[in-house]
Symmetry: C2
Subunit: 226 residues, 2 copies
């Protein structure tokens, strides 16, 4: 039986591209690096796998350490093994995207980060570690995920308006959607159901609130979601 110790061993890092949605805009959480390499540069949060952790555990730990985010939807989208990404040497990087209702959480810079903030998803600064390709892939993966599965709701509060949902799709896919056609389509999806109450405290006509019902979704089975 071959021994694992005889094999090449590699440092493994886990990065998480965290998407949020606030003020009608798709956002991404980036941290400003406190340490070398790339001190002072903006980067996708992440860090080294340690001990017996799985990649998912590393992702959650690093997010908590660097941004204060917790209890967040995570999904793996690619593993990078090319050279030249980290000047200290080659790493294997498992990349995740994450989704969160960013109105609810503000980012807290801790540990390795000197700052952490939400950036507009279509105006990100140049990233450390040549993460620009990773970010582009994350956006693609986000679009695919939201087109094929009911994940848009992870970016919204539990109770949301149809206008919020529509604006979210418009942001994610960078398109304009006709309101009437959109609402007709949503009406057919009976897992998006009315809370039978309205917004309050606004200076205009209040909208009906809706919620996503995951149990009802399971009955419903279509190839494409949006």
């Amino acid at each position: 039986m071959t021994r694992l110790e005889d094999k090449s061993l590699y440092p493994v890092t886990v990065d998480s591209v965290v998407f949020g949605y606030a003020e009608g805009e798709l956002k991404v959480a980036l941290i400003e690096r406190k340490m070398d390499p790339y001190v002072g540069k903006w980067a996708i949060p992440g860090g080294f796998m340690e001990g017996e952790e799985t990649a998912e555990e590393t992702a959650m730990r690093e997010l908590l350490e660097e941004t204060g985010l917790e209890d967040i939807y995570l999904e793996q989208f690619h593993t990078f093994s090319s050279h030249g990404r980290d000047p200290r040497g080659r790493t294997i990087t498992v990349a995740f995207f994450a989704l969160i209702d960013s109105e609810k959480y503000h980012l807290v810079a801790t540990a390795d980060a000197s700052d952490a903030k939400w950036w507009p998803a279509y105006q990100v600064p140049p990233l450390a570690f040549h993460q620009d390709e990773m970010y582009a892939k994350a956006l693609e993966a986000l679009r695919l995920a939201i087109r094929t599965r009911p994940l848009a709701f992870e970016l919204l509060p539990k109770e949301f308006t149809l206008t919020q949902l529509q604006k979210l799709y418009e942001q994610v896919f960078n398109i304009e959607i006709d309101t009437r056609n959109f609402r007709r389509k949503v009406a057919k999806m009976d897992f998006i159901c009315s809370c039978e109450k309205k917004q309050t405290g606004l200076k205009h006509r209040p909208a009906m609130l809706y919620r996503y019902d995951s149990a009802r979704y399971k009955e419903f089975s279509k190839e494409n979601f949006f």
Copy 2:
């Protein structure tokens, strides 16, 4: 600057689920293990990343070593980091699926494999290393890839008939397709074009041969392919 040597280091393996298509059936290439662990069991071909290889390079090297396959379409679909897959200890496993016209290549068992053969994709034996979950994910990834991108052609010879293409879709998605509707749909895709010649040497009416034109596909841009 932190040093990479201070970090936890992990053995990395790369596995490739190779799909083929022959005799009107979707197939998968498996190897019979020559060595412990799981000696004599069937497994997805793969092995350890070595030295400065990227994951793609490892995948190609292992495929050549274990099955004799070369020059094959490869695409990453998931990275597994859970415990309990290898009795020797925890590994990080980057998984690929691969596509090949399996009529053209016969498998050759070499190195770590005592045998290598094409199995019907819907009748695979129990797999070593708890790879059953990996195989299920690979099938899902294959379906997604073929639904959204023109990859079916990787499984066919350069020149193919529409009946072959239809049967391939039927196999991959486990559905029946109406011939007339299928052909009408294909007719609209002008990147699937006639070679203006027919099959020869058959004992029945010969079919027109078609080919995939990737240059024309690039013009054509639809969200879903099939």
